[in-house]
């Protein structure tokens, strides 16, 4: 079986003859000759010279390049937490629907590079005569032109989240403790509840049955 390398090499260059077979290169001690071309002998025993050695100060991939360039802060900032997907999260104060692809309304930045606008090199203020071209008709804009004032809907979850945060600042107790307390409360409240239930029943009988769906808990709370 011929290795594929030998097949590929055939016809290009004759395969190197083993030196030991010629007998010319054998050293006087009888040991095999060094694996070096003649030009390199006496200079360096191996073709790698001392000049070619990579210095310890050279920057390679073996060092953490993020640390080397002091980018840890940036790495932690962007990779440590989730970055919000939408452009409006990056530019929250920019009016209009900026999350839509620019290709939809031909407002893409790429088109600005590919087809730069035809304009002069300087900006000159508009004269009175020029401003006459900007006289507008009175009245509101048609619906399709009001896109600029439409803001992306802001998530209500944020507020809810904040509220929920503010509502439960107390650290959660261990489930066993809280359950125990609840059970205790239940036991304590039992005679009271019975009384209240009785009262409620009486009231229900007195009032017209307009709100039959009201839960017992709500009712009991209103009584309190």
């Amino acid at each position: 079986f011929d290795p594929p390398r030998a097949v590929a090499g055939a016809g290009r260059r004759p395969p190197p003859r083993p030196r030991a077979a010629t007998g010319r290169g054998r050293s006087p001690q009888g040991r095999p000759p060094p694996l070096l071309p003649r030009c390199c002998r006496g200079v360096s025993p191996l073709p790698i010279s001392s000049r070619g050695r990579t210095g310890t100060t050279e920057l390679t991939g073996s060092t953490n390049l993020i640390t080397h360039y002091n980018l840890e802060h940036a790495y932690n900032k962007f990779c440590g937490k989730k970055v919000k997907e939408k452009l409006s999260n990056f530019l929250p104060d920019l009016p209009g629907m900026i999350d839509l692809p620019g290709s939809h309304d031909s407002s893409s930045l790429r088109s600005l590079i590919e087809k730069p606008p035809i304009c002069g090199s300087s900006f000159t203020p508009l004269t009175g005569a020029m401003l006459t071209g900007f006289r507008l008709h009175a009245g509101p804009l048609p619906e399709q032109c009001r896109l600029m004032h439409i803001q992306p809907p802001k998530k209500k979850n944020k507020h809810k989240h904040k509220q929920s945060r503010t509502q439960d600042p107390v650290p959660p107790e261990t489930p066993s403790d809280s359950d125990h307390k609840k059970k205790k409360k239940k036991k304590e409240e039992d005679p009271e509840r019975k009384r209240k239930k009785k009262e409620k029943k009486k009231k229900k009988n007195r009032h017209s049955p307009e709100h039959p769906g009201v839960g017992s808990s709500q009712a009991s709370s209103s009584l309190r």
């Binding site: 050695r53 390679t60 073996s62 962007f78 900026i98 692809p101 893409s108 600029m148």
Partner: protein, 134 residues
């Protein structure tokens, strides 16, 4: 570095605000607001002049084109930074792995060569010096 962008940011914010006010005037135009509109239009021109002046300070700043793609798709450009950093770290680790493997290979090769060619390797080590262990 950041100071360079401050004036540009300020001018851009003013410009955007002016455009927003212009939009409000135009959305329900009244003949009495024509002078206000003219003022806003000229303010827009001066705003563009101010932004154009900022070019001199920022001529050495280059922005990767990929960032524009993110913005054009309505995506947060910080995601590009994030992906760049992640890619850099992954590549860094990959290259480090290769370097470490090559170092191990080198030490093993030297070890084996020393067994077969002790004198040559002694000369080699004399020239190259002792390599630190991988």
């Amino acid at each position: 570095m950041a100071e360079k962008f401050d004036s540009l940011e300020e001018h851009l914010e003013k410009f955007v605000e002016n455009i927003r006010q212009l939009g409000i005037i135009v959305s329900d135009f009244q003949p009495s607001s024509q002078t206000g509109l003219n003022q806003k239009l000229n303010f827009m021109v001066t705003g563009l002049q101010d932004i154009d002046k900022c070019r001199q300070q920022l001529h050495d700043i280059s922005v990767p084109l990929e960032v524009f793609e993110y913005i054009d798709q309505g995506r947060n450009p910080q995601l590009y930074t994030k992906e760049c950093l992640e890619r850099a770290l992954a590549k860094n680790e990959q290259v480090k792995g290769k370097i470490d493997t090559m170092k191990k290979f080198k030490s093993l090769l030297i070890q084996e060569l020393t067994k077969v060619f002790p004198e040559d390797m002694a000369k080699y080590k004399a020239i190259r010096g002792e390599d630190p262990p991988p």
